[in-house]
């Protein structure tokens, strides 16, 4: 036995011929697996026909899936053996064809408007090809297109010249080695402002006048705004849970409890007959959204601290189970305490938020100016939804700003230190009890704010909205985004909440696609989409401790 190790780069060896038998064998295996996976789930469809149910065979879909798997595996083998040209040559035209097929009539008209006219014959040919394709669903076509484009990009990268030697700028402070900022960090830097800009401008961009210039944008119809509000709500919940799980490292599976406490606190303060009577007597009106918001947060924070006490000594899995139990406890209490919460009947008639006192109603009561009267606009119900969207956007951004700020404060650093090593924390004089309780409390507070918003958006809440699955989804968002990464949470929320809505087209295969996406993420990026930790304080760097000292 002899071992030789060397770092010197030798001249490229003679490339061995492409190992066709092995590649074909692998591709055959993939095709076989695809066949097995799809023959029952995709191949046989149950359809309602006159006279009962019938089993329809869709074996052309199965054949296509197997073929696609086969070709994909060959492409991967080619790329792996550094033979990108065939991949690019085949994938690029197919991608272009698919792209043209998918272009909607509106887009073609737009392109014609700016001079790229393909003619009506072209459009007819495309339609014919589209009908001939084995899959009918638009979404599947988009997925196939994205995969093919992925292969093409992989091929192009393989064909690109090798990376240039590192320059002085890439080296570390003492010049001893090369420091390349990780991809996650480079992406986060420009992605964050881009996302904020898009989020703020989205309703405006999608308004009728924006539509004329950017026809591919979604119309500002109720469905799109609803999805947007939902996504931003989950972003805020993700940022709130990020404080507990990402910063403090406390695996909380019962976050929905605080969401529920916030929602019910607001609902009860606003609609419970005794409270309403008291507030009418003292203040002259019942409590509105803005007044109740801090109370909702306070109640949720109290719940967070109460949960924190029993779990102080628990770690990891045990902490997760106990918090899960707490989440279920809250839901069951809400379900059974009929006299207070009306149990499964839920609480309704929750007031909507007003714009500094100007309500969003078509016909306001006597003497009250409504929002549209104030601004001289036509009343459209979409305005209220847009207003709700901006409220949750502002609340989410406040959560984010708070997190960014508190990371630089001693308590934020103590959270991160607690996550890294609790025993070392104790040896430094950090009180683990207080640190954990503040993490739970503050994380819960933001969950409570989001809950109050949820109540006002729906105007009706019931314990059914606060099941364990919600906690799981929020945790999945935090973990998928990369624990501790703010931008990652946004991306993950868009993926996990937005995609299933877009995938509605796939009907019963929606969850299949969802599961497949989760598996892909776990294979490709196991530590999350953008798992990069930015230090809170730097000695050298643009905004550094030394820089501040010199400037001060």
């Amino acid at each position: 036995m002899a071992l030789a190790a060397s770092t010197s780069m030798q001249a490229p060896v003679e490339r061995r011929p492409f190992d066709w038998p092995n590649a074909l064998k692998e591709a055959g295996a993939v095709a076989f697996v695809m066949l097995g996976l799809t023959v029952l789930m995709v191949g046989i469809e149950v359809r309602d026909v006159p006279g009962g149910l019938a089993l329809i065979g869709r074996y052309d879909d199965v054949a296509f899936a197997s073929l696609f798997g086969f070709m994909g595996r060959i492409a991967i083998a080619l790329l792996r053996e550094q033979r990108p040209k065939p991949v690019v040559l085949i994938c690029t035209p197919i991608a272009l064809i698919l792209l043209f097929i998918l272009l909607s009539q509106d887009t073609l008209a737009f392109l014609a408007g700016i001079g790229l006219d393909f003619g009506s014959d072209f459009a007819k040919t495309m339609q014919a090809v589209k009908l001939a394709l084995p899959f009918k669903s638009l979404v599947v076509m988009w997925i196939v297109l994205i995969l093919i484009v992925g292969f093409a990009i992989g091929g192009l990268r393989g064909m690109a010249p090798p990376r240039a030697a590192p320059t002085a700028a890439d080296r570390s402070a003492d010049g001893t080695h090369v420091v390349r900022k990780p991809l996650a960090q480079r992406i986060s830097i420009f992605l964050a402002p881009a996302l904020i800009l898009f989020a703020v401008a989205m309703p405006v961009l999608a308004m009728p006048f924006g539509q004329r210039w950017f026809p591919f944008l979604p119309t500002v119809d109720l469905q799109v705004m609803d999805i947007a509000v939902l996504v931003v709500t989950y972003v805020m919940l993700g940022w709130g849970l990020n404080i507990v799980v990402g910063l403090a490292g406390l695996l909380d599976l019962g976050y929905v409890a605080f969401y529920a406490v916030g929602a019910y606190s607001f609902a009860l303060l606003a609609t419970h007959p005794e409270v309403v009577a008291w507030s009418q007597a003292v203040f002259g009106s019942s409590f509105g959204f803005w007044i109740c918001l801090p109370f909702a947060g306070l109640m949720a924070a109290t719940a967070g601290v109460l949960l924190g006490f029993p779990v102080l000594r628990l770690r990891g899995d045990y902490l997760a189970i106990v918090t899960l139990g707490f989440g279920e406890m809250v839901r069951i209490i809400l379900l059974n305490w009929y006299s207070l919460t009306k149990g499964p009947d839920g609480l309704g008639g929750i007031p909507r938020p007003s714009f500094f006192g100007y309500p969003f109603t078509a016909s306001p009561p006597e003497g009250v100016t409504s929002f549209h009267d104030l601004f001289g606009l036509e009343f459209e119900s979409i305005h209220r939804v847009i207003f709700l969207y901006y409220i949750i956007l502002v609340m989410a951004l406040v959560t984010n700003l708070f997190t960014l700020r508190i990371r630089k404060l001693p308590v934020g650093r103590a959270w991160e230190a607690l996550r890294e090593d609790e025993i070392a924390c104790r040896s430094l004089g950090i009180n683990p009890t207080n640190t954990k309780l503040t993490a739970f409390g503050i994380g819960a507070m933001f969950g409570g704010f989001a809950g109050a918003f949820f109540a006002t958006r729906q105007s009706f809440i019931s314990p059914e909205s606060f099941t364990f699955i919600e906690s799981a989804v929020i945790l999945a968002i935090v973990v998928l985004g990369g624990m501790g990464s703010q931008v990652g949470v946004v991306l993950a929320a868009i993926l996990l909440i937005g995609m299933p809505e877009i995938f509605r087209d796939l009907q019963q295969y929606r969850m299949l696609a969802f599961g497949a996406a989760m598996v892909l993420i776990m294979l490709w990026r196991p530590s999350g989409l953008l798992a990069h930790r930015e230090p809170t304080i730097k000695l050298f760097g643009r905004r550094s401790a030394r820089g501040a000292e010199e400037a001060a």
């Binding site: 001693p410 090593d421 040896s427 430094l428 401790a545």
Partner: protein
């Protein structure tokens, strides 16, 4: 100190004072780390008293909660298997150590949230202290590195610097020279004597490396099977027959061992250890 039926420490009494380096040595399993854990609050001794006197204040360590020993009695420790915060940067590790003072200046976070100047000033001072220690241990250039990426010897020194950033009156080091090559071990010795002489604190050391122990200790305590078998200056301990028996076993027939027994226990003065040059 009893763990169920196992008596880890049976009869150990000793004193350590400031401006002195006290070493606790003994074979493996003698109970040295158990003593440390009792001192620093990780175990509660079943019987006994641990008193720390500082100026005119007295702390009964066996009654204090773990983190309060570091917070109020100002006892700092390092760990046998290094416990840094690996994903945080070197600078952050040192700033976290000053948590308690910074918490007070930030008004328990409230003032800090609104950007109160007193907190910003306190944070700058904290960074200044961190910079001082980074220069002392030679890591100033790598202040922004992730602590987990440092080589082993640097991690050890960082852990000691982090303990010093808590402004302790007693520094407890658990096998600080483990895994260090002779050059790094020399750097460590210099660092510890600097700490003793400049900062006037007491240092308590568990160590197996006799070069380090004999070179820098002012006072040595020897443990074996949970009992103290010797206590005194390095010269006294080196020649104490009880200690020699514990380390080398009973001599069977006269002069069996290589060299004199005393030389195995103390390299620095009698037999200096030269670092061997490496090939290549």
């Amino acid at each position: 100190m009893r763990f169920g039926g196992l008596v880890a420490i049976d009869d150990v009494s000793f004193a350590a004072s400031d401006r002195e380096i006290t070493s606790i040595i003994g074979p493996n399993g003698a109970g040295k780390t158990t003593v440390f854990n009792c001192l620093t609050g990780f175990y509660k001794p079943s019987v006994g008293r641990l008193t720390l006197r500082n100026a005119d204040r007295e702390f009964l360590l066996e009654r204090m909660e773990g983190f309060r020993i570091a917070q109020n009695a100002h006892v700092a420790r390092t760990f046998q298997n290094i416990r840094l915060f690996p994903k945080m940067s070197v600078l952050e590790n040192l700033v976290v150590a000053q948590h308690n003072r910074l918490m007070r200046s930030s008004g328990y976070t409230l003032l800090g949230l609104v950007g109160w100047p007193s907190y910003r000033r306190a944070e700058r001072e904290a960074v200044g202290k961190a910079e001082y220690w980074l220069e002392l241990i030679g890591l100033i250039d790598r202040a922004d590195w992730e602590a987990g990426n440092l080589p082993y010897g640097d991690q050890r020194r960082l852990e000691i610097a982090r303990a010093m950033c808590t402004d302790p009156v007693l520094l407890c080091l658990d096998e600080p020279a483990a895994g260090l090559n002779p050059r790094e071990s020399g750097d460590l010795r210099k660092l510890l004597t600097d700490i003793r002489d400049t900062h006037n604190i007491g240092v308590l050391l568990i160590e197996h490396d006799m070069t380090v122990v004999m070179d820098i200790s002012d006072h040595i305590v020897v443990l074996d099977y949970g009992r103290k078998i010797s206590d005194g200056t390095p010269d006294y301990v080196r020649n104490d027959p009880a200690v020699i028996r514990a380390y080398l076993g009973e001599e069977e027939d006269g002069d069996e061992g290589e060299g004199s027994p005393a030389s195995s226990l103390g390299g620095a003065r009698s037999e200096p250890v030269e670092p061997t040059p490496r090939d290549g």
